[in-house]
C-alpha cells in the first residue's frame, strides 16, 4: 500500500495551510482547524505531525527532537514516520534542517530565517487552569482581558517565594495575545523573542493552531518587583562542558550518583566533536 506524500491527503493539507496562514497573520491567536486522526495517540504530537505534514516538500530536511534529544522514542518514531510516508531526508543536525518538529525544547543552536520550528502542544489555552469555560476564555482573549494570568503568578510567589512556573511559562505575543509557548522550559522563552525562524504550534486533540511569525515581540509575563528569570545551574555539562545550555539531571546508578548533561543532544555532540578535532 502507498500513502499520499506525507500521509495526509491534499485537501487536508490545504485546510491546514489555510489555517496556518491565518495563524501567521494574527500572531498568537488560536485558529481552530479540522484535526485528523493520526496513526499514533493523542499526546504523542498529533498536532505537530499534522503541521509538519502540511509543510513538508520533497526537498525538505527534517529534524525531530523530544526534550532536546534526537534519539528518544517519540523523536525516532516521528522521524521514521516521515522518512517512510514522505521519503524526505532526515538529520540530527540543527544547522542542516529546514524543518524541525520539537517537543518541549527549542534547540540551543540559533535558528535561521530559512528554518521553521513546529511545536507539539498539549494545551493551547494558557488560561485553562484558571478558567475552565472555553466561551469565557475566548471572550477574555477577544477583550485582551488578561489580569487572570497574573493570579497564577501571584499564587506562585505567595506559595514558593518566587515565580515557580518553570515550563509552559505564559507569554504575550506582539503585545496582544496571551499565548502558551507549549511546555518548553522558561529557559527557552527568550529564544521566542525576535526569532528569525517561523514558529508554528499545533494542538491535535484541542484542534488549535497558532504561530509566532519571525521577528515578533514576545514578552514573558512578570511582576515589576519579581521580573522574569530563566533557570541557572551551578554545574556545567559533564560531556561537553557547556555552561550556557539547558541541563538535564540524570541519575546514573543505584546509589543516586547524579550527572548534569545538555538536554540538546545535537548541540552537545557538536561541541564534543569540535573539542576532539
Amino acid at each position: 500500500m502507498t500513502y499520499n506524500f506525507a500521509f495526509l491527503d491534499e485537501d487536508t493539507k490545504r485546510m491546514l495551510r489555510r489555517s496556518l496562514l491565518k495563524a501567521v497573520a494574527i500572531p498568537g491567536y488560536q485558529v481552530p482547524f479540522g484535526s485528523r486522526e493520526m496513526p499514533l495517540p493523542y499526546g504523542w504530537g498529533t498536532g505537530g505531525i499534522q503541521v509538519t505534514a502540511a509543510l513538508l516538500g520533497p526537498d525538505d530536511v527534517l529534524k525531530v527532537i523530544d526534550q532536546g534529544a534526537d534519539d528518544t522514542t517519540n523523536a525516532v518514531n516521528i522521524r521514521r514516520f516521515f522518512a517512510r510516508v514522505a521519503g524526505v531526508a532526515t538529520t540530527e543536525r540543527t544547522v542542516d534542517a529546514t524543518l524541525i518538529q520539537t517537543r518541549h525544547r527549542i534547540p540551543e543552536t540559533s535558528l535561521r530565517e530559512d528554518q521553521i520550528l513546529v511545536f507539539q502542544v498539549p494545551e493551547p489555552e494558557p488560561l485553562r487552569t484558571l478558567e475552565p469555560r472555553e466561551a469565557e476564555t475566548r471572550t477574555l482573549h477577544a477583550l485582551a482581558d488578561y489580569g487572570l494570568m497574573h493570579v497564577k503568578l501571584y499564587e506562585d510567589i505567595a506559595q514558593y517565594g518566587h515565580i515557580a512556573t518553570s515550563y509552559d511559562y505564559p507569554v504575550r505575543v506582539d503585545g496582544r495575545f496571551l499565548t502558551s509557548p507549549s511546555p518548553i522550559p522558561k529557559f527557552d522563552n527568550p529564544k521566542l523573542h525576535q526569532s528569525p525562524a517561523l514558529m508554528l504550534f499545533g494542538a491535535g486533540r484541542e484542534k488549535r493552531l497558532y504561530a509566532i511569525p519571525p521577528y515578533t515581540q514576545v514578552e514573558s509575563l512578570a511582576f515589576d518587583d519579581h521580573p522574569f528569570e530563566i533557570q541557572h545551574w551551578e554545574h556545567q555539562c559533564e560531556l561537553c562542558g557547556s555552561g550556557e545550555s539547558y541541563l538535564d539531571e540524570v541519575i546514573v546508578d543505584d546509589r543516586g550518583t547524579r550527572m548534569f548533561v545538555c538536554s540538546d543532544t545535537d548541540f552537545c555532540g557538536q561541541r564534543r566533536a569540535e573539542a576532539q578535532a
Partner: protein, 256 residues
C-alpha cells in the same frame, strides 16, 4: 447631590412569565437601597437586570460615571460592560463560592481585581490584600490559605473584601447574609454598614429580611409578583406600611 443610577420602567420577562415589571427608581451617591419581598417576587431578577447581567425586556438603566457622563447601561458593548463591572461596580453574591475563586489563596482573591486593572507590583498587591483582610476582620496571617478552608461567614467577608478592594462607586448585593447564622449575620451587617459609610458607597441590596433593611437602608422598595408595591423611607415603610402586602410582611416578622 445628583443622581448616580436611574432606572426607568424596567421589565424583564422569562417568556410569558414576569420576572420584574415596570420598575423605576433613582439611586444617589452614598445611598443604600434595599429591595425586599418574598422569594419569587422578582428581587434578584431586578438586581441582575439593573447590574446588566440580564438583558431587560423593556425599560432603561442609566449610570453616571466617575467623569460625570451618563451611560446607557443596556446599550453598552461587552467590553464596556466588563470595564464598568471591573472599575466602577461590584457584585456580592449570596453564595460566596459563586463570587470567589476557590482554587487560589485568599490574597489572590482580593488582589485579582487590582491585577485586572493592571497593577503589577507584587509587594504592593500583597500589602493591599493584607490591609483589606484586616478591614473585613480576617486574620492577615491567613492571606495564603485557600478560601475552601474558611467558614461561611469568613468566605462572605472575603468576597466583600475582594469586591470593595478597587473602591467601586456602586455595589450590588444579592442576599449577602442569607444562609449564615444569626450572630455571623449581625457581624457582617455591622461590617457592611461601617464600610459603606467609610467609602461613601452607593449600594443596592436584595434581602428578604426586614431587619437587614431596617439596619442598613435609608430607603426600601417592596416587591410582590415582580411589581413594586410600596417604596419610601425604610422606617416609614416598616412603622407605617400602607400596602396590604407590606403590612403582612411587617406583621409576620418574629419579635422577641
Amino acid at each position: 447631590m445628583s443622581v448616580l443610577l436611574k432606572v426607568r420602567n424596567l421589565s424583564r420577562h422569562y417568556g410569558t412569565r414576569v420576572g420584574c415589571e415596570d420598575v423605576s427608581f433613582d439611586l444617589h451617591p452614598g445611598e443604600l437601597l434595599c429591595i425586599v419581598g418574598e422569594s419569587g417576587s422578582g428581587k434578584s431578577t431586578l438586581l441582575n437586570t439593573v447590574a446588566a447581567q440580564l438583558a431587560p425586556t423593556s425599560g432603561s438603566v442609566s449610570y453616571r460615571q466617575r467623569d460625570g457622563q451618563w451611560l446607557s447601561v443596556n446599550a453598552l458593548s461587552e467590553a464596556d460592560r466588563r470595564r464598568l463591572a471591573r472599575e466602577e461596580w461590584g457584585f456580592v453574591t449570596q453564595n460566596p463560592r459563586d463570587g470567589l475563586r476557590l482554587n487560589v489563596s485568599a490574597g489572590a482573591n482580593v488582589a485579582e481585581r487590582l491585577m485586572a486593572l493592571g497593577m503589577r507590583n507584587y509587594s504592593q498587591l500583597r500589602g493591599i490584600a493584607r490591609s483589606w483582610l484586616e478591614r473585613v476582620e480576617i486574620d492577615p496571617e491567613r492571606i495564603d490559605d485557600a478560601p475552601t478552608g474558611f467558614s461561611g461567614g469568613m468566605q462572605q467577608r472575603l468576597q466583600i473584601a475582594r469586591t470593595l478592594v478597587t473602591q467601586p462607586r456602586l455595589v450590588f448585593m444579592d442576599e449577602p447574609t442569607a444562609g449564615l447564622d444569626v450572630s455571623v449575620q449581625a457581624r457582617i451587617l455591622d461590617l457592611l454598614r461601617r464600610l459603606v459609610n467609610e467609602l461613601g458607597l452607593a449600594a443596592v441590596m436584595v434581602t428578604h429580611d426586614l431587619a437587614v433593611a431596617r439596619l442598613l437602608a435609608a430607603r426600601t422598595i417592596v416587591m410582590q409578583r415582580g411589581r413594586v408595591v410600596e417604596t419610601g423611607l425604610t422606617d416609614q415603610i416598616l412603622d407605617d406600611p400602607q400596602h396590604p402586602y407590606t403590612q403582612l410582611l411587617v406583621s409576620s416578622v418574629l419579635t422577641t
